[in-house]
């Protein structure tokens, strides 16, 4: 389902804060949908969740768990 603007902002903040999304050096702050999907897939894979690239309940719950403040330098390359 489509995310509301508040939740979308929170998800993007999380993915940015922990290194799953990289802010582009130039241009607008808007992320392409495929970039967000890819970041979600990476987060889900690193978290041992079903990999859908979609914001589901399990992913939402995982993002609410208490955690360390350091980034997760996971990407598809490191996960391989």
């Amino acid at each position: 389902r489509a995310l509301g603007p508040t939740e979308k902002e929170a998800v993007l903040d999380y993915l940015l804060q922990y290194g799953y999304l990289q802010k582009p050096l130039e241009g607008a702050d808007d992320f392409r949908l495929e970039d967000i999907t890819e970041a979600l897939r990476t987060f889900q894979e690193a978290s041992g969740l079903p990999i859908s690239g979609q914001m589901d309940d399990a992913t939402r719950a995982r993002m609410k768990q208490p955690r360390c403040g350091l980034e997760d330098p996971f990407n598809q390359k490191s996960l391989k």
Partner: protein, 414 residues
């Protein structure tokens, strides 16, 4: 696991700057000490707490506002803590969390601290969700232990901890005791009377101990006397025995039921300790390079101890005379010297043993001979009655240092 860097040294200090309101200082200290111990039990790392001054790893609690950290926290929940990678050393905890120990409520300080120490040591986040270094807090675990991925990560950075060393330290069952401070006793005369202990110590120098003082033995006579604690900080006088092991570069000093361990002139963390696997009030100790073992002597018996392997000391003591032929019971000091011979000291006499561990012909001799006091005090050989100036002695003539100056003994901070 992911690696973010590493420390170039393996003996690190840490300091606790403040504590949260939910836990007492003793409980915080216990939790943080245990957090470090998880890592030092699997990697060759040591951690020593300091109460003041600079520390390699600095732990503190701060909240939404912090004067000294630009990465502020976010109130209860969400981010719990963060740390710097080597060799920066900061570890910060969110003071707004409910920090707890021994309960499923709140956030377990010990486990979170162990995770952050992992970062401070150079580990990044693990993708194994059950690993300590996973980014998300998995909750309180009463029987927590490191995940194999955590162990593999830290050992990739610092290597494996020797299991023999761990066994040895665990089996000693020793208790930390407070250092002894006392006014120094009277200065002994190196050229008369017996010594408490003797070692061929660090840097190939021969040290003699008596009362609160130590001096080096050189070709030109005894070196100047120093208070023992001026060289080995924290070490008391009136020692029972001392032994230096070139195998481990450790010097062990024994007094009563306590042992002090030094590497060069620096006391090892956790010492002095009580020992209970050999009898207290030892007479002497020596390192025998032939089998790389330490021999401890008391009365007419000895114990053979391997510093790096599990030793079944229940088979000891064994009679001294079975291994060291012609040696007196209750020696006051013993040592292996650089000439490959073993020496025993008792009263005003000393004995030299050959490679077969038999007392050599012409011994015992007067210790003034050993101390090279010949130019100051004529030495009457107790066996032959000969007057033997020490400078003519063929064995001791190879004493490494010919300097009788204060340069013979390094300073306490050397």
């Amino acid at each position: 696991y992911l690696l973010l860097g590493h420390w170039r040294k393996k003996n690190l200090t840490f300091r606790i700057f403040n504590v949260p309101s939910t836990l007492s200082l003793p409980r915080v200290r216990a939790a943080l000490h245990q957090a470090f111990k998880y890592w030092s039990s699997v990697a060759p790392l040591t951690f020593r707490e300091v109460k003041a001054g600079w520390a390699d790893i600095r732990l503190s609690f701060h909240g939404r506002q912090s004067l000294y950290c630009s990465n502020t926290f976010d109130g209860p929940g969400k981010v719990l803590a963060h740390a710097d990678i080597p060799e920066l050393g900061s570890i910060h905890f969110d003071k707004d969390e409910l920090w707890t120990e021994g309960t499923y409520q709140g956030v377990n300080l010990r486990i979170i601290a162990a995770h952050e120490v992992g970062h401070a040591l150079g580990l990044g986040h693990s993708r194994y969700t059950q690993a300590l270094m996973a980014p998300v807090y998995a909750g309180y675990q009463p029987f927590f232990k490191l995940h194999p991925d955590d162990v593999a990560g830290i050992q990739a950075l610092y290597g494996k901890r020797s299991p023999e060393t761990r066994d040895e330290e665990e089996e000693t069952e020793m208790l930390t005791v407070s250092p002894v401070t006392a006014k120094p006793g009277p200065m002994p005369n190196p050229c008369s009377g017996e010594v408490d202990a003797m070692v061929l110590g660090p840097r190939g120098k021969t040290y003699a101990f008596k009362g609160d003082y130590v001096w080096t033995v050189t070709d030109s006579g005894p070196g100047p006397l120093f208070q023992i604690s001026a060289l080995w900080e924290g070490l008391p006088g009136n020692l029972d025995a001392a032994v230096y092991s070139p195998r481990t570069r450790r010097t062990h000093f024994f007094k009563g039921n306590k042992v002090w361990r030094y590497v060069d002139f620096k006391m090892s963390p956790g010492f002095p300790m009580k020992f209970n696997r050999v009898e207290p009030n030892l007479d002497a100790a020596l390192y025998w390079p032939v089998n790389q073992k330490v021999f401890l002597f008391k009365g007419s018996g000895y114990w053979q101890w391997d510093e790096l392997a599990r030793t079944d000391l229940s088979r000891y003591p064994k009679p001294i005379k079975e291994l060291f032929t012609g040696v007196p019971d209750r020696p006051s000091a013993a040592m292996s010297w650089q000439d490959g011979q073993v020496y025993f000291f008792k009263g005003k006499e000393y004995w030299r043993l050959n490679q077969q561990l038999r007392v050599a012909k012409g011994y015992p001799r007067n210790t003034t001979h050993w101390m090279h006091c010949g130019s100051q005090t004529p030495d009457t050989n107790s066996s032959t009655g000969d007057v033997t100036p020490s400078t003519t002695d063929t064995v001791l003539g190879t004493t490494p240092s010919t300097m009788g100056s204060t340069l013979d003994i390094p300073s306490a901070t050397d």
